[in-house]
């Protein structure tokens, strides 16, 4: 029974294809087999995005001692639909001096990348749309594509705030791409595979990488870099509303604006899903619940943490953001590769000790080298 529920989506797809096979030729079945996965991803992703906006508003509301949306439907559950209708019916404003074609293309292109990367996420046992043997690289490579669309939008708007936002996004992406990829390298090193499915399989049975010394820190770095990649607080400089209004999407309205948001939320989901896949054991979990449930739960928790960040933290300044990437994350991830290699090389008790020592040393060194940037506690005088 548990097995059936676990594989329910896979079985449903197979049964559907079997039924089609009675009437249709083989090549159509082959096409349909591919198209079903694509169609499901394309249908699920916007729904996930819509309810992520609802969740974000709800959780932020609760953090701020408010209710959050609760008017449209029970618990405000229909709010995203109302928002969608509003977005669709809004006037589409294009600035007079904007580059019309690119201004139109940017929101179209920006959703492509986050939708593409969903293909290599293993949502459950046997539930991966395309098990590429370079899946991880595919994810990292395609997700860089988003920044180009983002810059297209910022440049085509002919708005100075947009341009500043685009510049920031560029600089930020370049800086955070490197520690992000480097923090993934230990995983590749230990599993010696680039396939996301294989990475999950290597962690089955509670051997999640987050429980290893190197994995815990790599997961932290990866998650923070991921937050930076998808432009969320405290790294939301490209759209910092208190400084540059709305950054790269200042000049967008209506559905085009919604597409920017959609891209952002789907990439948030995708990055959380990848973090789960790489470090939190993917769909691995106690067998009494289906594998896709565990994947969803873990992703949900990571998304909640991102929202929690947003409800608590102020954002960095540009130079601090860069400094953080280059002076803290980069050296740490480089050292972490070495530490992970030690873990893979040595037998059990020794590797644990070696890793602990290595991490302590690198953290201490980072603290010493960055002490000039670390803020100090202050004392205040009183006058009578």
């Amino acid at each position: 029974m548990a097995e059936t529920i676990d594989q329910i989506f896979v079985l449903a797809k197979d049964r559907f294809l079997d039924l089609l096979g009675i009437v249709l030729p083989d090549w159509i079945i082959l096409l349909v087999r591919i198209l079903i996965s694509i169609a499901v991803l394309l249908a699920v992703a916007p729904v996930v995005m819509m309810y992520m906006t609802w969740l974000e508003r709800k959780v932020l509301g609760r953090i701020q001692n408010r209710y959050g949306p609760n008017r449209v439907g029970i618990f405000g559950l229909l709010q995203p639909i109302a928002d969608g209708i509003k977005m669709l019916t809004k006037e589409d404003i294009v600035p007079k001096n904007a580059d019309q074609v690119i201004h139109f293309l940017a929101p179209v292109v920006i959703v492509i990348a986050p939708l593409l990367v969903l293909a290599v996420l293993p949502f459950g046992r046997n539930m991966i749309a395309a098990d590429l043997n370079v899946g991880l690289l595919f994810f990292l490579g395609v997700s860089t594509f988003g920044v180009i669309a983002l810059f297209m939008g910022s440049w085509a708007s002919r708005n100075k705030y947009s341009l500043l936002g685009g510049m920031r996004a560029f600089a930020q992406m370049i800086s955070y791409e490197i520690p992000m990829v480097l923090s993934v390298v230990p995983v590749i090193l230990v599993t010696s595979s680039l396939s996301t499915a294989a990475i999950v399989e290597a962690q089955l049975g509670w051997k999640w990488f987050i429980f290893t010394p190197w994995g815990g820190f790599a997961a932290l770095v990866f998650f923070l870099c991921g937050v930076a990649e998808v432009n969320r607080t405290p790294f939301d400089l490209p759209e910092a509303e208190s400084e540059i209004v709305a950054g790269f999407h200042t000049e967008y309205s209506g559905m085009k604006f919604a597409l920017f948001y959609m891209a952002e939320f789907i990439s948030t989901f995708a990055i959380s899903g990848l973090a789960v896949t790489l470090f939190l054991g993917g769909w691995d979990g106690p067998a009494f619940l289906p594998s896709w449930f565990w994947f969803g739960l873990k992703t949900f928790i990571l998304i909640l943490i991102m929202i929690w960040f947003r409800g608590t933290l102020p954002r960095f300044r540009v130079d601090q953001l860069m400094g953080f990437a280059w002076k803290v994350f980069l050296p740490f991830t480089l050292a972490n590769i070495f530490i992970a290699a030690l873990w893979a090389l040595l037998p059990y008790p020794k590797n644990f000790i070696a890793d602990t020592i290595g991490i302590t040393v690198i953290l201490t060194l980072l603290q010493i080298f960055n002490r000039k940037e670390t803020p100090k506690k202050r004392k205040y005088l009183y006058a009578n």
Binding site: L30, V134, A171
Partner: protein, 169 residues
């Protein structure tokens, strides 16, 4: 199944066409940013071509490096050095016609030589899959020397960039 092959072939030619058309746009469009976008499209076409040739690793690396890194930097540089509203930059000058003629001559020879090469396909290379372990072994084994040279070049470039970007204190 033949029909699928037909689709695949059509797709390949379409990709090739888009790649070439984008490449032509790169050298003809008058706006630098548009040129950069066309170049991205062209590079993307190349990546898709790699996918057709079952070289997934290469295709992904093409996207990661050329589009993700190099084009990003290129656009950044364009933004920094040129004004926001610079709409047109002339792409032709007096030498373009002779250059075109020379290129045409060169291309005739190039295509002729390409056609002359017997491209052998053996089953072993078709079946080869990208294995991370093998890749690492190759980089650290037979190809360690070029690999290290590349890293030295990159480090030099990095140091140079740091020196250039440093402000006087």
């Amino acid at each position: 199944m033949e029909i699928l092959y037909f689709f695949a072939k059509t797709g390949f030619y379409a990709t090739a066409l888009v790649t070439l058309a984008a490449a032509i746009l790169v050298v003809t469009l008058r706006n630098l940013f548009h040129c950069a976008l066309a170049l991205i499209l062209s590079l993307l076409g190349v990546a898709v071509t790699y996918l057709y040739l079952k070289a997934e690793f290469l295709a992904i690396i093409q996207i990661l490096l050329y589009i993700g890194a190099i084009m990003t930097l290129l656009i950044f540089a364009i933004m920094l050095t040129h004004r926001l509203t610079d709409r047109s930059v002339s792409q032709t000058n007096r030498q373009s016609l002779p250059a075109f003629a020379l290129l045409a001559v060169f291309n005739i020879f190039f295509i002729a030589s390409l056609a002359a090469v017997p491209w052998k396909i053996n089953s072993a290379s078709l079946a080869a899959k990208i294995d991370t372990q093998a890749l690492g072994a190759f980089l650290m084994g037979p190809y360690v020397f070029p690999f290290e040279i590349i890293s030295i070049v990159l480090i030099i470039a990095l140091v140079g960039a740091v020196i250039l970007g440093r402000t006087d204190q």
